[in-house]
């Protein structure tokens, strides 16, 4: 019984093993990799994708998708920059609120479009939204890149804890991300809203006929994805010091976020996925990028390795599930 318990606890950690393997490979290939400061860098580099992926995960669980999270992050940053330069607002609270408001509103609109227009799938509407937001960000800032944000705004993306004596510090952005992840975990597993999110993804019709307002669940999910995107936008500003309105269309923010979720066990068909898998997925992507940069790999190698890892990660996951099934099957008496 105890042995079984242990196995049950360890099983969901399997992706962690894949991550650990990747870390070991990278450490062997590069001596700089396994240093404390580099580990902190990896965490630092995970935060933006982590926030975007958290929102994306919620939409994926409902069998949806949000292709506008990346441009939404950029728009939120642009909205903050806009009121800063137009109205000379320097109060960080006001600026941050503006960003969160912009991102969440966009998410809300995504949710309303999906539910009120009764769209079959949010792929196209959020793709359309991606374009609209890219245009809006350019319009707001008249294509200008804006810098000079107050410290309070930059804090989340740039501050480090316990910095000093050779230690570069523990990134606040990663801690913020972890807090969000715990919140998402609790939401998904310990609340009725969370269980409704899974149910909507598994069978929206049955969920609706069980007396659950599926529209409200979906609207919440997209608004939450927008909220997460806004925080990602704030971190982008903190990390880079500027709000660049043209970044939305040129970045691959969405694909990275989706990859993190799917590597972590979410599925396009909905009803599946959890936030810790997503964490591992996001870390895996950062580890690969970081390790390859340390090795000074060129774009071609980087692309190929990232692609291969994505494919292998999913293949491993499928294998693992299959062998798990088999184990349980043979154990049946």
């Amino acid at each position: 019984m105890n042995k079984k318990r242990l196995a049950a606890v360890l099983r969901p950690l399997a992706p962690l093993v894949a991550l650990a393997l990747l870390v070991i490979v990278m450490s062997v290939m590069n001596s700089e990799f396994a240093t404390v400061n580099n580990s902190m860098n990896i965490l630092r580099q995970t935060a933006v994708n982590g926030f975007l992926a958290a929102g994306m995960l919620l939409t994926l669980i409902t069998a949806g998708i949000d292709l506008s999270v990346g441009t939404n992050a950029i728009l939120s940053a642009a909205a903050m920059a806009y009121i800063m330069i137009t109205f000379d607002v320097t109060n960080p609270i006001v600026l941050l609120t503006m960003a969160l408001l912009a991102g969440t509103t966009v998410g809300l609109v995504n949710g309303l479009l999906l539910t009120k227009l009764k769209l079959p799938h949010p792929f196209v509407s959020t793709l359309g939204m991606k374009y609209v937001l890219a245009g809006l960000a350019l319009f707001l800032l008249a294509t200008r890149t804006v810098g000079g944000f107050p410290e309070g705004v930059m804090f989340l993306g740039s501050a480090d804890l316990a910095k000093g004596s050779g230690f570069n510090g523990f990134p606040v952005s990663f801690i913020a991300m972890l807090i969000l992840f715990v919140a998402v975990h609790l939401l998904l597993n310990r609340t009725s809203l969370g269980r409704s999110i899974y149910a909507v993804g598994g069978n929206p019709e049955a969920t609706r006929l069980s007396g659950i307002n599926t529209d409200r669940v979906l609207i919440f999910v997209y608004a939450a994805a927008g909220f997460c995107a806004a925080i990602a936008g704030i971190i982008i500003v903190g990390r880079s010091g500027v709000a660049n309105p043209s970044a939305g269309m040129s970045g691959n923010y969405e694909t990275d976020a989706i990859a993190a979720c799917i590597i972590g066990g979410a599925s396009f068909t909905g009803g599946k996925g959890n936030i810790w898998g997503t964490l591992i997925g996001a870390l895996m992507i950062s580890v690969i990028r970081n390790g390859l940069t340390l090795m000074n790999a060129q774009s071609d190698v980087q692309f190929m390795v990232i692609g291969a890892v994505i494919i292998i990660a999913v293949a491993i996951d499928v294998r693992r599930n299959a062998s798990e099934e088999k184990r349980r099957r043979l154990a049946a008496v």
Binding site: T143, S240, N290
Partner: protein, 304 residues
């Protein structure tokens, strides 16, 4: 196309119909600050010269097909008297131009088109080389440098890479790392963090644009490293960073002047006047010494 027509329009209206000179301008994109300066120059020239311009640019500097489509659409427009292009992909643009009889001018980036009227600009490579030299001079011989590019394989990024590296090496600086960050500031910050980790002796970083220079600067600052950082483009935020001292310098190519002069040259060509085959708009290294002045000029040009 109607070659030369004597038109005096006051610029307030294009009511002249067919008689108004119409110049098409296709830039690399309109969705970035640098290109909005070129655009501002184009529009100022149009106003001053009383001609009509159609100013276009694809969604991003990697939207190659889109630029070709725009060009094609413009070539099919009989009312268009001349076309100014900033080619994303010079060879490709030449093949789209085919045997057109309209006067064709290139701005910012040259292309091997046989019948071109003029090229207005400074080569990206050339400008970047001066930037590399300036960075090498500040850092001193024997320093180690890194390059953070946009998209590898993209013509502009590749040209700036070649120029920067040539300049640095001429100054005795070795380039120890070459990485690419999609032109994005936050990705450049991540890339910088990683380059710093694997290159403890690094003292110079040159980037493909000012946004990435800003990101790299923040990463270096957070890691407590003093670096010579050079950007490219000379946009306001970039120049401001130079003034603030977070970034060492940037390479400015007088985008406003490029835009203005290209329309000037196009109109001259339409009117049958002789136009120089190469109009050098020069480039400027912006450092703390001239940054304030440059920012003031920029603002003036943009009418702010």
């Amino acid at each position: 196309g109607t070659g030369t027509s004597e038109t005096e329009s006051d610029g307030s209206g294009n009511s002249g119909g067919d008689e108004t000179i119409k110049v098409g301008v296709v830039l690399k994109t309109l969705s970035s600050e640098y290109w909005s300066y070129v655009g501002a120059g184009v529009e100022a020239a149009a106003e001053d010269l009383g001609v009509e311009v159609q100013l276009l640019g694809p969604a991003s500097e990697t939207a190659y097909d889109e630029q070709n489509n725009m060009l094609e659409t413009m070539l099919a427009d009989d009312a268009m008297d001349a076309i100014v292009i900033a080619p994303l992909q010079p060879d490709s643009v030449v093949s789209v131009l085919g045997g057109t009889e309209k006067p064709i001018l290139f701005v910012d980036t040259d292309a091997p088109f046989e019948n071109k009227v003029s090229y207005i600009g400074t080569g990206n490579e050339e400008a970047a080389r001066t930037g590399g030299e300036a960075a090498a001079e500040i850092a001193g011989e024997g320093a180690e440098a890194a390059w953070i590019g946009g998209v590898q394989g993209n013509t502009t990024s590749d040209q700036r890479e070649a120029g920067f590296i040539a300049g640095l090496e001429a100054g005795g600086v070795t380039v120890v790392a070459k990485q690419y960050a999609e032109g994005l500031a936050d990705k450049a910050a991540s890339t910088m963090e990683n380059i710093l980790t694997s290159n403890p002796n690094l003292t110079v970083v040159v980037t493909n644009n000012d946004e990435m220079a800003a990101g790299a600067a923040r990463a270096a600052d957070a890691a407590g490293r003093e670096l010579v950082i050079f950007g490219f483009d000379g946009i306001q935020a970039g120049v401001q960073n130079v003034i603030d001292g977070t970034v060492t310098g940037t390479v400015a190519q007088d985008p406003y002047g490029m835009g203005y002069k290209s329309v000037e040259a196009a109109v001259a060509a339409i009117k049958g006047e002789t136009v120089e085959e190469f109009i050098d708009t020069g480039s400027k290294i912006i450092t703390s010494e001239n940054a304030e002045d440059y920012l003031a000029t920029l603002r003036e040009q943009l009418g702010e």
